[in-house]
Each structure stands twice: as C-alpha cells, then as structure tokens.
Symmetry: C2
C-alpha cells in the first residue's frame, strides 16, 4: 500500500499498487475534470507530481511534461507504484459541488464555495488532556470537552452504550489520543465510536440515496470536500412486483409477509448500487459513515418495512412525515453498521422526501418570484413557490417517460435514443444515442423529442392519433393491426431489430404529459396566478442532460414559457439528499420546508379532470394557451 | 380469571381464582395498611365488598361484618373466587408514598400529596380521529395530535422503528382506538409501542433498583398511584469476586472477560430480586414498563458492562457522569424489553448515583440551613448542603457495618442482632433479634450498639482495645490468642454457637466509623463551619429502622449533635430511584443536583489523615468535641 498526498489541501489517501491515479484522486475527495472520460485526450486531469513515482498502466514510464515544482502527468493515464505527493492545479479541479450547482439555493451555493458544513457524521481525532491528580472529571465529559474545544459548533453531546463500554480502555491504551465518530443529530451530537488507531487524513464518505419507483441512484460523497466521487444507478428490483407504486402496494397486501419481501427487494437493489459506487473508487464499506435517503413516500415505507397500504386508499395518509435518525445497520445497508441514516421528510402519501429534497436543492422557497418545480418520475409532482408560500400536488403521470410499460421504452442508459428528429422530406429519422452505441430503445428525453417531432411534422394529429394516410414508409400496422411508427428499422443506425412506437404507447405518453400539465394548471389556478407569471420553472427527473425543455413546452407538458425561464435541473431528489449529507443547515432547512408545504389533493380538486382531458391534446384544446407553439399539423 | 375493582378510584385488575385479596390490592397500586403483617389481627386492611363474592383461604365463607354499602372483610384473609367490586375506606390506605415521606424534599412531598407526575413511561389509551377525505395527515402525526390533546405535558413526540412498522396496521385494525406506551425522555417523548388491545384500567408497574456493593434492593411501584407494592432485597452475588469495590475492580482486570463476567453477576442478582418482587404481587414481567437504577459508580459500571478500572486509580475518574436512557432489554433485565431504563447521574468515581438519589430524596439542596447527608454502606459518602451549595466526599469506610469481613457479621435479615446492651453488674447481654428469632450474627445497627455499650461500660478503652482485666467471663482469648467478647454463648437466647466479636473486628468497625467522622469534619472544615452549626443530619444506609442515632454519636461516628437534629432516613438511594420513576421533576432535578455537587477528594486533602487517626478513638482524641458523651471508661 502506498500513501498518496494531493496538494494544495494535503489530502492523503492510501492506494494499492497499480491503482489508477484518477480513482485515487476521487477517493481522496479531489474531483478532477474529465471531459474525455479518461481517454487521455482532454488533458483536463493533469496533475503535478512533486515527489515519488508513477507509472503508465502498462507498467512502463508514464508520459510527463516539465512543470513548476515537478512534472505534469495525466491522472487518467497514471497508476500508483509507491508513495507520491501531487499538486492539483486550480484550473483542473471540477468546479461544481454537484451537477446542479448553477441552479441551487443558498445552502448549495454556500457549500460549493466553502465545502462541507457540519456533515451528518464526521470522524475527528482529538488529543485529550490526561486527568491530573484530584481531577476526577468523567472520561466521557473529558472527551466531550476536547471535542467542544476543537469544534464549537457541536450540540449537546451524548454517547451510546457500545462507545461507553469501549471508552475507558481505548482512552488509556491510546494515551489519550483517539479517533472519534460523531453524529450530528437533530437534538444532540452523538459520539458513536472511539478508536485508538487514528486514521490521520483518511477520507471518510457519505452516501446519498434516491429511491425512485423505477430507478435507484446513489452519490458517494467525500466528507472532507463534500464532492461526489462516484455515482451509480440501477433499475429498482421491485419492478417485478409492479410497475407503479399502487400495484406494488397491492402486491404487499395480497401476499403473506408482503412488506418484508418488498423491504428486502428495496435493500437488495440499494446494496447493489452502493457496491457499484464503492467499487468505482475502491472505498471499503466501513469508510461510509453517513447515509441520507430521499424517496417517494411508498419507496421510503418499503425500505423501512412499514406497511404502505394506507397510501393507496383515500385520503392517502403516509405513516410518518418526519422520521427519526436510524442506523445503516438497522436497515441492513452495506456500509458502516453504525452510520447514521437520515430519511428526508415527507409531506403526504404522494409528495415524498424526493420532493422536499428537490425544493431544498433548487432553493425554490427562496426565489423572489413565482417559481415552479416539476419532477417527472413514475409520478409527476409539482411544487409552486411564491414569496415563501409553498403549495404542492402529485399527479399520476405513470412511468411512461421512464420507459416503463412501453415496448420500445428504456432507462436513460447507454443504447437509449435520447434525441429524435423526423424529416418528412427524406422520410429519415435522425437520432442520438447515449454512449454513441447502436440504439436499443428510447428513453424519456427521446420520447419528448419524438412526440414533438411527430406532432410538428403532422404524423400525429392534435388528438395524438397517427394520421393513417401520412406519406411515410415508417407508419405501419403492427401487432393486432395497431398503428405504429418505426423510429429505426433493423439495420438503421446499427439497430438489431425494428424500434417502433405504437399508438397505445403514444397514448401512455400523452396521459403522462397531460397529468403533469393539468397539475401545474390547477395549482396555479388555486393561487389565481396565470402560467405566464411563472418566473422560473425547474424541470427535474431522470430525463438526462440532453432534455430539450422547448420540446416539453411544444407537446404541452409544460406551460408556454420562454425557453430561458425553463431549466432542466436533473435529479434534484439525489441532490437534496447530498446536501443533507454535508450540511446541518440543509438538514434543518428541509424539515422546515416539509412543514411549510401545503398539499393539494388533485383528485378531489374541482376542475382537475376537465383540465386533464383538455391537456390530452397536442399541445392542448385551448391552443391560445400555447401561442408560441408553431403548428404545422391540422387538428 | 376475575376482574377486581377497588373504589373509590375504580382501579381494576385481573386476578386469579384463589389469589389473596391483599396481593391483588397491592398489584392494583392500592396500598393497604398492615400492622400485623397479614395475620388477621390488626384489622387495618379491612375493605368493603360492594358486589361479588370472596372466600376464606380454606375455601369456606370469609368472615365479614355489615358495613355501609356492603360487608367488611379483611383483605389479608380473603381470596378471589370471581369478579368483585370493593371500596377501600380512607383510613385503611397506607399513608406514605415511601417510608421516607416525613423527611423528603418538595418533589417527594408533592408526590405523596398528588400521586404520580409524568412517570418515566406510561401506557395511555387514545381514540384517534379517523382521517376524513382530503385529510392526508400522517398516521404518526395523527396519533401524536391525539396524545397531545389528552396530555398537554408531553414533550416533542417521536416514534421508533418497530412502532412505525406496527402503526398503519394497528391503527386500522383497532378502528382508530389504540393503547400506546410513551417514554418521557430528557428531550422528547417517545412512542415505543402501539397495540390494538386496550388494557383499560390495567395497572402498569415501574421498578426502582438500588445496587449496593453488598446488597441489591428493589421497589416495585404501581405507576397509577406511585406507591410501592412490593419490595425485595438480596446479597449482591458479586461478593464472590471481592467484598469491596476495589477488590472487585481488580478481579475484573485480572481475569479475561472480567467486566462481562461481573456484568452477568450484576444482572443475575438484579433479576433474582426483580423476580422476588414480582412474585410477591403476581406481576408479569411484561407489565413492568419502566426502570430506574441508583448505584455507586462501580456497581453502575458493572451493570452496564463498562470497564471500571479507572475508578480505582488516581484520580478515580468514572466513565460517565450522565448516562443516556437505555432499554431494559439492552441490559438484559427481566421486565418488558422495551422498558426505558434510566441510570441516575454520577458525580465522581466514589460519589455515585446512589448519593445523587439520596440528595434528591432528602431534599437536602432545599434545606434552609446547614444540612448533611451521611450514607454508610460499603463506603461512606457525605454531602454537605448550605444555601444551595453542595459539597461531597467519599471515605473508604469498608463494609464492616454491612457485616462483611467480620466473623459474626451479617446482613440486616431475620436472625441478625440489631440491638445490644451489656450490663456489667449482672454480666448479661440483652439483645434484640430481627424477626424475634434465635440470633445468628450481628448487623450494622447491632454493631453501633455494641461499640457504644462496650465503651460506655468500660470493656473497651478510648483506643478501642479490650481492657484485659475487665471482670467478665465474656472476655476471653480466642483463636490465635486474640481477645474476643462473647455477645451470646451457645444456648444463650437460643444461639446454636458462640457469637463473639474479636479485637480485629472492633478495629475494622472503628476504622469505618473514623473514616465517616473524619470525612464529615474535613468537609465542614472546608466550608469553615463548626459541627454544631449542623441543623439537620440525615443518616442513610441499610442499617434498619431500629438504628439508635444517639449511639452513632456516642461512638464518635457522627458529630456531637442533639438527638433531634439527627434522623435515620433508611435507603435514600432506593427512594431517589423511586422518585425518578414517577416524576419528571425528580428526573430533571437529579440531573441538576449532580451537576451542582462539588466533589472533594479526601485522600489529597490536607489534614484528612490526622483527623482520621484522631477519629479512631472513642469517641475522638479531642473529647471536648463530644461534650455530651458520658464517659465511664478511662483512657
């Protein structure tokens, strides 16, 4: 094992011989730029080797250039052979705390500027004043005094039984110099571990988890810098029990031990994603000392093993809005068993912790004007903020935009078509595929493009039906004579089979977009505010960074706003969980936000069904509400 | 099973056929007077049978007298045959909350007047408003709202994971009427159980535990009335590892797994005493829902499995002063596993929770003038209070007054000589024996009497040495020619063997009394206050109610105060634990008291050794400090 130090912050990590330097840097919490994806082409990951040695991956000498104080090497091309000291030039540090930094509220901006601020758990080495003759201060009070002197921000301190049992021996065997793990709880700071072996400078990690109905995503975060060092995602394994929350809840009710089976399925997927993220940067489970979880109410219940039945029945009550701190061991997650686990707060059965996380991450509640967050996952949730007032609702969008329940649908993974443009003059479809691979299916971003381009070119009418006599070879009768549009024939763009969207798939997608639009319209109506008064609309969800927000307006999913007022902000649920991992202010703010959010139940809201039906058209029955949408097709 | 209701408070308990009515009454928290010990003689346990039936113990008709509204029967003579409704006349209720009520501080007096006041745990049945359409309040918030409406004193509420898992199902299966168990923690009230089966009117119990080095004692307390319904005590089984705390700590250090072995020994004795107390009134383990523990620092560590080594080494630091709430299950006590367990706070390695409990119970800190608490157990602890200032110390008295390490010594149990008077004119020794039995040994109270009578009659000189030519057949050369005084020859008072006190035993007892006196003198000296300014001296410890406080002055254990200023107050450690079980104010006060107590380490205190040596005389080298002590013997 070698010791690798990264300047100018002097972060030291232990690395194995042969380990790639960019992996070691990530594990140290040093986020390097990487525009070429580690191909050695962009030179954005260049670091200066000040002392020690590095090698190329093949064992030969690594390519280097002279540089001030040493030689410059590319982190993606070098591997560890022994101890080394490196310096990271300021211009090569990844600039953003998270991919969202540009759009985040003040907590996130503060963190981006200053790094972490009282993480949920931290490891701190302290030297303790050994007791002098006549000084009979209790061991635990002595360690508390030392911790308080080192960090005046600590709350009232407490210690748990395993720590109390270890304390007298560890303190004396370590000669009053110990490594502590402290949890920043809502009321008190808890000392949950003491050990004699001080891991001086060793980076500890936190894990932010977002459990969506269709997808589970995690960010592995270095707690010294607050930066994401690895990310991973995966289809939620619960899909075998149902595509959406309602069908899964029914499954748990109809099967003996249902909640426990579902809990195990949740834990299994989460642990697979955790393993993937840890493996990417070689972080052992024991070094992951804090966890935050954002999820919709049903997924949160499933993870905790709480029966979710009431969520599917009127009035859709969740079991709890705010949850106490758990430990990762209690929930059987594969990280340090004593790691504190914070579940972000829930507002209602259908506005869960994923949404409170999103409100936190976007800084929605701080925005001066009318601001809207639309999070399209398996459900669509909408939050409207105006001068500190927060109103929210959930609409049953369904998982169509996540590619679930659609023949050619897929998750936004390599092989997914994320951009589609149909040219009727050539009858060709131009596509872009994630990872530049052969297309295998279409993801949410691709479907928004597809609806927009088919409507714009007149393949679909205003009722979202294929126009039977449209002059194209791509429109054909598919299975059971159902009309379908072939995006890519087998062989086209390397596709191994025909990739086609059916009339019933289109209807699924239209129902999703209509539900979202109707939800926004009803919430704005409750505040007596017209859509054009929206100053900023954040569109969140796992669409992918290529989402064309203008297209989402064209198909009538979002109100007709100028493009500059609509911003795609990615997975704000995960971003909010990340903030709570590294900031006490974020943890306090998210609780206050959840308490401040007023839930509106759309299903009992007068006018919702009418608005929903009107929104099933492209873009809407009332075309005057979409003046900017260029109409080519006829209704 | 029968249902027995006691008026006028309408407390209902379930009883088995054939169960004695006084046992059932105790289990209901209805403490009846009993001067004759259940012999049917004193008629103080008479109750009025208003409806239903009772039988005599032999199955025949129970003796009864006509009474207003029914017939009067003696609870100690009647057994249950079926449902019955009884009324307890006010004059037959046991008057005191605890045996200490006369001397207690305001918390105890308040409790004696008003019963319990926010016990550590309580069971409460609540009707919850079922959710209406559109009301998506979380289940847990709904139950919290109902609990707060029923009890405005609740703190911020929280719920643990097992309760959250049970909640959705229990609420709906019970049709929104549930039985809850709530723990009154230091920061929050915790909902730790919900069940659909409401135990309407069923009495729940708490357990106050005092773990002394030599003796473990418990009080089983009915949480509806706050009264002790059963008490039990037992020699601490750890005695096999050493008589005093120091030798036991050494044992744990010299044996592999020592703290764990000692923990198991502590738990085993405590569980035996718990079983005895529960059996006395037929209370199942599951109905004991709260536990408080007072103990000296070492015994507390042993119970918790914390290494106690540092306590025996300068500067004698305890591992913790204030401990978090544990659960009984965590500590393996045989009560309801989720019962909260509060350890009273510790001041130092040698002034433990037993003493903070005593300060709480006696109201020492509230007394207007100079007040002193002296607790003589295996160690002697002293607390001096003056206008809110509290100073405390521990002196190594040793277990001599507990009968440990003395050939003829024994615990204050039946067969123990508790009163001794020697008459030189007849050469007879008059004795009183606990339980009126044949004498088997001498307990602490007896030893104080013995020293006083032997000194007063001149058998012992001022140096506490036997006067060899004293004209008595009772003084003889014992084993190894060591002088000894025979209190009872075999055959005298029914003794089966000679009961004699040896010169070395006398020296042991003298060291104990000298340590106590020197400790008091040094503490008063630090405050520049003479002993005669003491307005009240509370003498606590397991001496027994027959202790002659005047005798404790005569032998120079206590300063020379008028008898009316000295009060024997019994086991204040257990009394303090009892108060914390039934009163939030007591729990808050005891923490404040522990923080306010300044510990003085006598071993480093200038003058302590001189005072100790001077106190080894009878009553003291400076006889002018004991003007009231009649001196017969010559020095």
């Amino acid at each position: 094992m070698a010791s690798i130090t990264f300047g100018p912050d002097n972060i030291t990590v232990v690395a194995a011989e042969g380990e790639a330097l960019n992996v070691v840097a990530a594990r140290a919490g040093v986020a390097l730029r990487s525009d070429c994806g580690g191909q050695g082409a962009c030179r954005k990951c260049a670091v200066v080797l000040e002392s020690g040695e590095l090698r190329a991956k093949d064992g030969g000498p690594v390519e280097s250039r002279p540089a001030d104080g040493g030689v410059e090497v590319l982190a993606c091309q070098a591997v560890v052979v022994g101890d080394a000291v490196l310096r990271v030039p300021a211009e090569n540090r990844a600039a953003d705390l998270t991919p969202l930094a540009k759009t985040l509220g003040h907590v996130a901006q503060k963190l981006a500027a200053h790094g972490v601020d009282e993480p949920l758990a931290m490891r701190r080495c302290v030297e303790i004043k050994a007791p002098a003759k006549g000084d009979s201060l209790a061991d635990v009070d002595r360690i508390f005094d030392a911790l308080r002197a080192a960090d005046p921000h600590l709350r009232r301190l407490s210690a748990d039984l395993p720590t109390l049992r270890a304390l007298p021996t560890v303190l004396r065997e370590s000669d009053w110099s110990v490594c502590t793990t402290i949890v920043d709880g809502p009321d008190a700071s808890d000392l949950v571990n003491v050990s004699a072996a001080c891991d001086i400078g060793r980076t500890m990690f936190g894990l932010a988890i977002d459990i969506g109905t269709s997808t589970v995503a995690v960010s592995l975060v270095a707690l010294n810098t607050g930066r994401v060092v690895a990310a991973a995602g995966k289809r939620n394994g619960q899909i075998r029990y149902g595509d959406d929350v309602i069908s899964r809840i029914i499954w748990t009710e109809e099967h003996e031990g249902g909640p426990e089976t579902m809990r195990q399925a949740a834990v299994a997927t989460v642990n697979e994603v955790i393993a993937e993220a840890r493996a990417a940067v070689n972080v052992p489970a024991a070094d992951v000392i804090a966890v935050t979880v954002a999820a919709n109410s049903t997924m949160m219940n499933f993870l905790l093993g709480i029966p979710a039945g009431p969520i599917r029945r009127d009035p859709h009550t969740p079991p709890a809005s705010w949850l106490p701190l758990f430990t990762a061991g209690q929930l059987e997650l594969d990280v340090w068993e004593r790691a504190p686990l914070m579940c972000l707060p829930t507002v209602s059965g259908f506005v869960g912790a994923d949404i409170t996380a999103g409100v936190l991450a976007t800084g929605l509640a701080e925005a001066p004007g009318l601001t809207v967050l639309v999070d399209v996952g398996t459900n669509g949730e909408i939050v409207v903020g105006m001068e500190g007032m927060l109103v929210c609702a959930s609409c049953s969008a369904g998982p169509a935009f996540e590619g679930v329940g659609i023949e050619c649908g897929m998750h936004g993974a390599p092989g997914a078509i994320e951009s589609v443009a149909y040219d009727p003059s050539t009858d060709e479809v131009a596509i872009e595929v994630i990872g530049g691979r052969a297309p295998q299916g279409v993801c949410g971003t691709g479907f928004i493009d597809l609806l927009a381009t088919l409507f714009e070119t007149g393949v679909l009418d205003r009722g979202a039906r294929f126009i039977p006599d449209f002059p194209t070879r791509r429109l054909r009768a598919g299975e059971y004579d159902e009309p379908e549009f072939v995006i890519a024939f087998a062989g086209e763009h390397g596709a191994t089979r025909d990739i086609a969207v059916r009339q019933s798939d289109i209807e699924n997608l239209i129902r999703s977009k209509a539900a979202v639009h109707a939800g926004i319209a009803i919430l704005l109506g409750k505040l007596h505010l017209p859509p054009e008064s929206i100053e900023c609309l954040y569109l969140a969800g796992a669409f992918g960074s290529r989402l064309g927000v203008r297209k989402a307006v064209q198909i009538g999913m979002l109100p007709d706003l100028p493009a500059e007022r609509v911003q795609y902000v990615g997975n704000t649920s995960l971003a909010g969980a990340h903030l709570c991992l590294v900031s006490r202010e974020a943890r306090e703010q998210v609780r206050a936000l959840a308490a401040a959010m007023t839930y509106v139940e759309l299903s009992v809201e007068p006018g919702f069904m009418e608005e929903y039906v009107a929104s099933m058209f492209l873009p809407h029955t009332q075309t005057e509400r979409f003046p900017s949408v260029a109409r080519v097709a006829t209704g």
